[in-house]
Symmetry: C2
Subunit: 350 residues, 2 copies
């Protein structure tokens, strides 16, 4: 692990779409945001829709007829890859807080080892959004020979203090829930109240004020859905957040959330050589698309612009797409009409 300590017997969960070609050089690796699993899209093995269903598959922008697409469940997550909720082989108990400090570079490392295990030596592109965009960037810095392309969406070369403040507060919500028990909650009986608050704050930062103004305005929930408690849900926007929180809790392990959230704060390209420029100099990808969204206030578009400008040297071909989607940071998950053509154009050229 980058910050010291060794993990043994690591598993990395992944899913694939398409087949490797004979030269085994048609791979595309996808890294995810904080919370999704490796199930980016449906497949014959798992027909449920994935988190990027419209983007990955036969004839889709990341075309599995052309590419061998591999999506990685992040090291530190809880959907098959080794993380704080996994059993520590030394103790037979979950790692919990004995899990070593996790960095974005460690997650990229998990992707690299998976690639080797699949018998591939190169990639056409490494891609990711949000935390996944940080991971894709780390991947091509740390393994510069592997991928000729980079698609980096709604991410950043380093976390800024505003985003750190929000994530730090989300972690505090979880840690201050008495059921967290300093990380030692029994499996399946974690700090649900804290996770609910953290998820609601997440949703607030993942969307945009403009979207909600159009979508909810000051609409109230109908009388029959009111609990009657003091300070109960009154506005539709409150009900929307409640529904999202209900969907999330129980699915995601609290300690895994803490580790992954912290990894985003710690990420800084400047750790690779002392400055943003020296870090970006190490990037191996030559064909690059950076995408940002104007209404994103968690990873503001100035950060994607900074990244694109910093990468645009050393003979690289760098495109920057600034999208007007109003759904904020989450636009890449929901505004498919804006993202589909941009992503398709990029993959037509790699």
């Amino acid at each position: 692990m980058r910050r010291g300590s060794v993990l043994e017997g690591v598993s990395i969960a992944y899913e694939t779409w398409g087949e490797p070609n004979e030269a085994r050089d048609n791979g595309v690796m996808l890294f995810t945001g904080l919370s999704p699993s490796a199930h980016a899209a449906s497949s014959p093995q798992d027909q449920s829709p994935g988190w990027w269903e419209e983007m990955v598959g036969p004839g889709r922008p990341i075309d599995s007829n052309r590419f061998y697409v591999i999506c990685i469940n992040s090291l530190g997550s809880c959907f098959g890859s080794t993380g704080p909720a996994s059993t520590n082989p030394k103790t037979g108990e979950p790692y919990r807080l004995d899990f070593p400090i996790l960095t974005i570079e460690d997650i990229a490392h998990g992707g690299y080892e998976t690639l080797k295990a699949l018998g591939l030596e190169s990639l056409r592109a490494v891609a990711g959004s949000s935390m996944g965009g940080m991971t894709a960037l780390a991947f091509t810095m740390v393994y510069p020979q592997v991928s000729s392309g980079l698609l980096d969406i709604s991410a950043a070369a380093r976390a800024r203090p505003f985003a750190i403040a929000l994530r730090s507060l989300q972690r505090e919500m979880i840690r201050k829930d008495s059921k967290w028990q300093e990380g030692n909650y029994p499996p399946g009986d974690g700090p649900i109240a804290g996770m609910r608050l953290a998820r609601k704050l997440g949703m607030i930062t993942y969307r945009s004020a403009e979207e909600w103004l159009h979508r909810f305005g000051r609409e109230r929930i109908p009388e029959e859905r009111r609990s009657g408690d003091a300070f109960c849900i009154d506005f539709e926007i409150e009900s929307y957040l409640e529904a999202h929180a209900n969907k999330f809790i129980g699915q995601f392990d609290a300690n895994c959330y803490l580790y992954l959230s912290r990894a985003m704060d710690l990420f800084d390209v400047a750790d690779h050589g002392g400055s943003l420029a020296s870090g970006l100099d190490k990037v191996g990808a030559k064909k690059i698309l950076v995408v940002g969204v104007e209404s994103d206030f968690l990873f503001p578009v100035a950060q994607q612009q900074e990244l694109a400008q910093g990468l645009d040297r050393n003979g690289r071909s760098v495109q920057f797409a600034r999208l007007g989607s109003i759904q904020g940071h989450d636009s890449f998950l929901v505004d498919m009409d804006s993202f589909r053509p941009v992503v398709a154009d990029f993959f037509n050229t790699v």
Copy 2:
């Protein structure tokens, strides 16, 4: 109370600067944001600096040599005015959640009764920032004959869903703290953990990402200030939020916070006649200054612009000042160099 129920034996705490003139027509009434007391500035009676120290006093922009300045502690607050923490004369216990639903109009009513008790019938201006700006607006709608001027800073004609979402989450943080006890915590032993989280989220929404980028960047706290706990404070921005939270908790009653926060969500000028336009038609003030700040994302500048445009009819003189301060919603408390001249210009003409 606007939403029904009656409060008996109400107290409204206030402070004053300057003296009423002979005609008793030089009054200026200040309403506050959610958390301050009526102590806007130092005075011979209380020499500690107030929350708007540079703005109120002899020779200052709201000049107590000219005006009789009255600052009102909001009904529902806990700094002298009757609120959920006050004793209910019917039970001898604090009101707690038996306090009736509080609206911004009720707070304005508290100001109006104070004015009458002071023997004044008119005001040169009613002024306020944030929640206080909502209250000043409500005042001049509900008592249109009283004040000829209105200064409305970083406020809005109604809450939008993004701000409602944030405040709703802050309230949930408090309500989910087991020490809240459905509002029945013993005085002095309230939901401190929840209040701490709510205050941190408050600070995040009161300032701006840009300010923190310049001020903190990715600076770390020195080794000797680290607790060594898992997920302990690491970045300076985390330490800043912690210091603000420590200052706040203990000072402010949790139930009062819940009532005042909810009052902001409920406020809607359109409740006065069915539409924004019909509500603003009722505004009695003729000389109006609306101020907004570009970096404010809690009360975005589009809301002040909407307010100024909506008021600019019926022969009123309406000015709109759009300030470039980078301190977000809190700019009126900290960016005195931008606010001082704007406020002084307004009071030179009322």
